[in-house]
């Protein structure tokens, strides 16, 4: 699949935004950060809202008609993309209210409830994003039970590193932040390893033989393509990444995306919160997340390419 930058930035930035919002809301709900911290609240939850707004805006950049995007809220009965749109908009309500309450120094049980609702909706939105991809049967590498959990884990992992960095800057750093970041980074690294192993060894769900129905005669090869230049289908679905480039990028994901953030989180657990270390952690995690998301698209084969004789 063609790794369109708008979709890669949308999913990684909005994932970071929802993950950061989740951890901030949870911290507020359970009193893990003090409530009378208007500047910390304004800037950190404001950053989360800005990130997911930027992500949502960049997702409209790949639309043919962005001005009609409002129509996408209508088909939530069948479409995960529509559900994601609805969830994204609804999530703004509790998170926006919490942001205002935090800045105004409002305390009380009702805000813990608003925070919990916001945290749940943030996860539901990321779940919908994952399901958009997971529900597409023609892309075998996406139609697995791993896709949505890994989308959720990336949001939670990058969000945990971001909250560790922001809290450390404001002097509210705590070991629960580094601890959450470390656990999530390790769980995600293991999940991604198992995901890659499963897609690398999977037998093709659909083949040139099954697609054309000509398998009854034997192996099917394309003799003549229907068109001599590229077309929409071959550009959008026929993107291929060289095996050695993919291997290199996977190493970048492991080393920069998981290795450095895990190391940084471990150091902070031992020696206490550090704004510098936590900043390195979140930057490395985001580089890894973007590389991983690029590979998620670039390595995925679409079943239509069976008609072009590609295996």
């Amino acid at each position: 699949m063609n790794p369109a930058p708008s979709v890669i930035f949308f999913t990684t930035l909005s994932g970071l935004g929802y993950g950061l919002a989740f951890w901030l809301a949870i911290a507020r709900a359970f009193g893990a950060v003090p409530a009378d911290t208007p500047w910390f609240g304004a800037i950190s939850l404001g950053a989360a809202l800005a990130l997911l707004s930027a992500g949502l805006l960049s997702s409209t950049a790949h639309l043919g008609h962005p001005e009609r995007a409002w129509r996408a809220f209508s088909q939530w009965r069948t479409s995960w993309l529509s559900r994601e749109g609805v969830a994204a908009v609804v999530t703004f309500v509790p998170l926006g209210l919490l942001w205002l309450a935090w800045m105004l120094g409002a305390t009380g049980g009702i805000w813990a409830l608003v925070a919990l609702v916001g945290a749940a909706l943030a996860l539901i939105t990321v779940y919908c994003t994952g399901m958009i991809y997971q529900s597409l049967k023609p892309i075998q590498a996406w139609a697995t039970g791993w896709t949505t959990p890994i989308y959720l884990l990336f949001a939670l992992m990058t969000g945990a590193h971001a909250v560790a960095a922001l809290a450390a800057w404001f002097g509210y750093g705590a070991s629960w932040q580094a601890g959450a970041a470390l656990i999530l980074t390790v769980v995600l690294a293991i999940s991604k390893f198992m995901y890659w192993r499963s897609v690398d060894t999977a037998t093709p769900f659909s083949t040139p033989e099954s697609a054309t129905g000509l398998g009854r005669f034997g192996r099917v090869r394309q003799l003549e393509a229907p068109h001599v230049t590229e077309n929409y289908i071959t550009r959008e679905m026929g993107f291929k990444v060289a095996r050695k480039h993919a291997a290199k990028l996977r190493m970048i994901v492991y080393a920069i995306g998981f290795g450095i953030p895990a190391l940084v989180a471990m150091l902070m657990l031992i020696s206490g919160p550090s704004a510098l270390l936590a900043t390195i952690g979140i930057l490395a995690a985001m580089v890894g997340a973007i590389a991983e998301r690029w590979l998620f698209f670039a390595e995925a084969k679409h079943a239509v390419m069976n008609f072009y004789g590609e295996r």
Binding site: A69, V220, N231
Partner: protein, 241 residues
Amino acid sequence: MTSLPATAPVKKLGLVIDLDTCVGCHACAVNCKEWNTGGEMAPLTDMDPYGAEPEGVWFNRVHGYEAGDGANGRTVHFPRSCLHCETPACVTVCPTGASYKREEDGIVLVDEDKCIGCKLCSWACPYGAREFDETVGVMKKCTLCVDRIYNETIPEAERVPACVSTCPASARHFGDLGDPNSDVSKLVAERGGYDLAPEFDYKPTNKYLPPRERMPSAPAAAEAAGEPQGLLKWVDRMLSI
């Protein structure tokens, strides 16, 4: 609405494509382009049409395949277009309601005024039936020539999809596949018509007729019948005069 019709359409208009008789001339693709660039989904935009790298939106693409090896291998011309599936994922993934399946005849269409051009429907289709129009910014697809088949301003004999009307080998057939007594349904039953990529379970309406079994070659047939071959055949013929 991108929900599928509550009751499955009884009428299932579609195509039956005979891979045995298709000669791979691309006339179906060209006539489709000609009709539809002025039809329901118009225009079928071309980019760089007179340049070195022309490309554009087509609803019909003709592949050529080699299947199998040696004496049993086949060369097959293979037109590929929308199969108007009974349970099309391209419709249900659409976030806007632009994609829909008609209850009255099962045709899958796009409402160009509602399409936001998110391209998700094209990702959901394993048949490559949908092509994005970069210029207009919306998704386009085969309409089964909905603007021909019900068109009372053209002679009745021409009320078939453009690809069917133009096929010089009569390899394309149009009709109601929901009616077991229709000509197309009988053809499918008689020739073992099949679904493309049935593993996706989208239940295509269009069917493909496989290349027929080979007729045995003349010498092989004679040998099978126990008739003499070569010199013996000549002697036999001389003596039989």
